[in-house]
Symmetry: C2
Subunit: 346 residues, 2 copies
């Protein structure tokens, strides 16, 4: 076991503070990663504050991890010391079920093992990326291509794959009208990726405050959802709406913005149930769907795609001592567009 | 104008009674149909009682119409006097929009013209099939193949196409596990059609009361949704659940019965909004969707499919004087499986 520095929430809703956690010995299939950067995801806050149900404490959040391999197990074949690597939302799964075999480990029949706030397959709690080091099976580690800065790559491991996977699955591309709902950590990457995939991209944001940024990142159009006229003007417009917001939504109003056979796909998740009139999907044969991150092969594909198109996330780099303040700013939507912790400051 | 006999609701929630309505003169593209049989659809009751919102009275319900052509307009090419024909839920649409051109007239951008409870494109109210005759544009009339009895064919015009279209669209067929939720007018046809398409079919019904019928109609399995064990046993089982019920549902419980990438498709429609936890679709990338009847070409395809497979609906033939009683029995789920009015009794 190795003792490493970390930032942890000692209990639900408590501020995060500096502490240490134990990392397991490097097993034969493991890599030891010196974490360089860790993104702050809205779901870190949901979990640290038990908004999504009971959680495990102390909690070291962080599932947007970018770093460098500093040790490899004896049977490791994919990575060598010095390689630039990333770890996302999961560090294991059953590896046996239909979904795992299909590279959809995030939908593992037994449930994937979360990078933090989970109990791993040896019965030990997992601790995430707000830390200096982590030990991860190489099968759940991906390569960060040269050309992607590690700090800008970190948020791709959750926010990037969470938007890339449904955009690909629901065929965002040339000739398709795609709306990205919410212009935050997930949304701004949704815009970049949908644009890079060749779709015509519209941002639907609460206000026009971030319009200049949205257009710069690749959006073709930008509308405020606080303006009722938006819902008149855009009626029946989109093939796909990717919803990145975790606030409660008037789903019926957004479903009306879809074309026949259009899909409204949720990657953000409100803590409370939503209300829906089923006529909103019956008229126009519409789909309300969801998507959760992406599998390991697709996460690698996404990183390669972003490197090829020359973009990572838009970030604000912070030191570890600023984490609690950053949480408040995330809740206030006051971040452009992802906080990334410089783990050298832990 | 021709005066014809009909059964109509004079006002919302009032009993239906015998009356007469005017049918327009037979236009050059019209056929005059001598109606032989008209099915009673649950949505007739929803509309006659204003459960789906304000309606037009007097109302002659009926959009499951089977009959024989008795006169054709000068420009009619598809039909001749004596042809066996059917009319479903729509009698017109804009014919110009993308959906109309694609044979998806039910999703017409301007809205299809309903067979009853609608105002047609000349500003006149439409009256449905609980009547002796109807005048319909040949473009919205379909052929009932020889080998399908007219009385058993009538319910196919709504209940048949409403289940056939989504079963085809969501790829019910060999190797697919399909559940049909609800074993009523729609559901029993869903079972027959899904079975004929080659899928492995499970009925999910409130009780096991109709189990023998379900298995006889082609179901491989039959479960009661009133039994909590059903939801444990069938977790993660289905590629597709076709929901034909219009009662409020615990959607989250049913979404848990889907496989990864599975779809829960609503063709029944509760009058009230439903509640949904979006995590139910995010986990497993699931789809909650809807579907509304089918277009004219697909309605013809469905009739040909049913004739080829040698089945129509299971019906209880009634006389017009029994309509009000039949409505009560439909609401009590006391019909096996569709009431069909013998219009000779009007």
């Amino acid at each position: 076991m190795t003792t490493v520095a970390a930032y942890a929430a000692p209990a639900a809703k408590a501020p995060l503070e500096r502490t240490t956690v134990e990392r397991r010995p490097v097993g034969e299939h493991d890599v030891l990663i010196e974490i360089k950067f860790a993104g702050i995801c809205h779901s870190d806050i949901h979990q640290a504050r038990e908004g999504w149900g009971e959680a495990i404490f102390p909690m070291v959040p962080g599932h947007e991890i970018a770093g460098v391999v500093s040790e490899v197990g004896s049977a490791v074949t994919k990575f060598a010391v010095g390689d630039r690597v990333g770890v996302g939302c999961m560090v294991d799964s059953c590896r046996e079920c239909e979904n795992c075999k299909a590279g959809l480990e995030q939908y593992c029949a037994e449930g994937m093992t979360g990078t933090y706030n989970a109990i791993d397959r040896n019965g030990e709690p997992t601790y995430g990326g707000y830390s200096t080091h982590i030990v991860v099976d190489e099968a759940y580690t991906v390569r960060i291509p040269e050309g992607l800065a590690l700090d800008e790559a970190a948020p791709l491991l959750c926010a990037g794959i969470t938007t890339y996977s449904p955009l690909k699955h629901w065929n965002a591309g040339p000739g398709k009208k795609v709306a990205v709902l919410g212009m935050g950590g997930l949304g701004h990457l949704g815009v970049k990726i949908a644009h890079a995939l060749g779709a015509e991209v519209t941002v639907l944001s609460q206000s026009l405050r971030k319009k200049d940024d949205g257009l710069k990142l690749g959006a073709d159009h930008y509308y405020a959802t606080s303006d009722p006229k938006t819902f008149e003007d855009l009626r029946g417009t989109f093939d796909l709406i990717l919803s990145t917001v975790s606030a409660p939504l008037d789903l019926d109003a957004f479903l009306a913005l879809l074309k026949t056979d259009g899909a409204f796909v949720n990657v953000g998740a409100p803590e409370e149930p939503v209300s829906l009139n089923l006529f909103s999907v019956i008229g126009g044969r519409k789909t309300l769907a969801g998507s959760s991150i992406g599998g390991i092969p697709e996460t690698q594909e996404m990183l390669d795609f972003c490197a090829e198109h020359g973009f990572g996330a838009e970030i604000e780099l912070i030191s570890a001592s600023e984490i609690n303040e950053a949480y408040e700013r995330v809740l206030a939507s006051d971040v452009r567009y992802r906080f990334v912790i410089d783990t050298a400051t832990i």
